[in-house]
Amino acid sequence: MGAKVKIEVRNLRLSYEHKEVIHGISFDVYENEILAVIGPAQSGKTSLLRCINRTIDFIPNAFVSGSIKIDGEDVLKTKDVYSLRRKIGMVSPLPVGLPLSIYDNVAFAPRCAGVSNKNELDNVVENCLKRAALWDEVKDRLDSLGTKLSGGQQQRLTIARALSHSPDVLCLDEFSIAIDPVTTMKIEDMLKEIRSQMTIILVTNLVQQARRIADRTMFLWNGEIVEIDSNEVIFSERTKNKKTYEYVQGIFG
């Protein structure tokens, strides 16, 4: 694997009102890898993703310090948050089909970015739906409402939407909690496939999922990094921290 650093996080701190939830963490994400982030609830995983695509701005009283550099550019200081967010695909825990047709759901982001050419949009829609393993199920009813799809389909639609602005980085936040195991496996296969094109950060509550598809895994606990290492180390008895071993083995957590 190429060791080119894609995202460089340094001393990131985040507090809501006066309560600090991320206590100065630093780590790197390499290009074209899948980094899994595991940890119990309230350990700051979702907040971390919100910092990366700056949707933290929408939360009142949230205060961020430190730096997050993507390709050397600090996202916390960037002027153009909208192009930043287009660089990052974000998939939320619960599937969100926008109240638009399936086609418009996927074409939403390109349109917001100023694409209006019909051919170009058709291409994007078909490609993204295919990559999200949804194309075959919906290709005959692209005009029906995205909100009327089943939960698993909506989650794949969400992923298609996240791919529609051709991001460099794809963040998935516990994408499998609301969907069935079969769909989960489909999406996991897809993630392994698109890894060659982008960097993936996978926040998950399923330790086994991290083990199955990630290259490296980060264990976050109470807003601090307990350990970050390749999967061979994390899922073995050679972990540096005993807590990691216990969490991964299901002894605590």
């Binding site: 695509n53 949707t55 929408f58 009142p60 909208y82 192009s83 930043l84 967010r85 287009r86 695909g89 974000m90 939320s92 619960l94 969100v96 089909g97 926008l98 109240p99 638009l100 939403f108 982001a109 349109r111 917001c112 970015a113 409402l145 909100t147 969400t158 939407r161 996240a162 529609s164 602005h165």
Partner: protein, 301 residues
Amino acid sequence: MNDNPQNLFVETAFVRKKKRQETVAKSIFLAMSVAMIVPLLLIVGYLVVKAYPSLSLEFLLDIPRKGMTEGGIWPAFIGTIYLVALSLAVSAPIGVMAGIYLNEYAKDNWLNRVINLAVINLAGVPSIVHALFGLGAFVYAAKFGCSIISASLTLAIMTLPVIIASTREALASVPMNFREACWNVGATRWQTIRRIVLPNSIGGILTGVILQVSRSAGETAPIMFTGAVFYKAIERGDLFPYTLDGQCMALSMHLYTLATQVPNVSESIPFATAVVLLATVLLVNATAIVIRTLIRSKKKW
């Protein structure tokens, strides 16, 4: 009480008392609800019966004759349409945008708390105080004189807070996670509002605006001193009788005039005027309610 387990589910005196109280309470509350509605129906029925001799299309289209003791109400009817249309043309855009600001842009800071208090207070200002304001601000200070413009602007400010409130309610019914999904793919706030939030709340917003049509059509006090007159001679059935810088008649004002200022008016005429005003207002309201029901049944999520 009852010790025998066999009789566990049998009514005791205590339970019977409880049940009796329940029935009594329910009937009292039912009576109270009915007491609210029955007089209303009786009153409306009485109005219609009294008005019947004068009610006809001719009454609507004709002008008042013989010192308003005979004839119809056309100038008042068309005047009300002028006032309502102009006032909504002003208050609807401002009110909707203010609602968008408060629901979509405002952060929880002192400025927005002050705006909230202002909206609440504006909604509670008595209509006669709005009239005084219209007189002081538009008629005298802005030198519009007693005119349709002054009266409409006064009405517009009066209807503003309700439009703001109903817009906010409609916007708030669009779930937050739609907005977040849009922001996640790089849509700006405005793109999110225009493409997702507004299309899914426009029905609710429209309903709020339509309800204001009926409210401003019925208002009397705010236009009494700012632009409405007792009598103005126009052609029968004329659609464009007024100019914006001139005064006009209005249905509500006309009813007040007929009821209190004009002697020897034939009895059915004020009743018919009241029925026309009431019917107009209720018809507009019913339309709004129908639209709202249709939207609710066609929810997209």
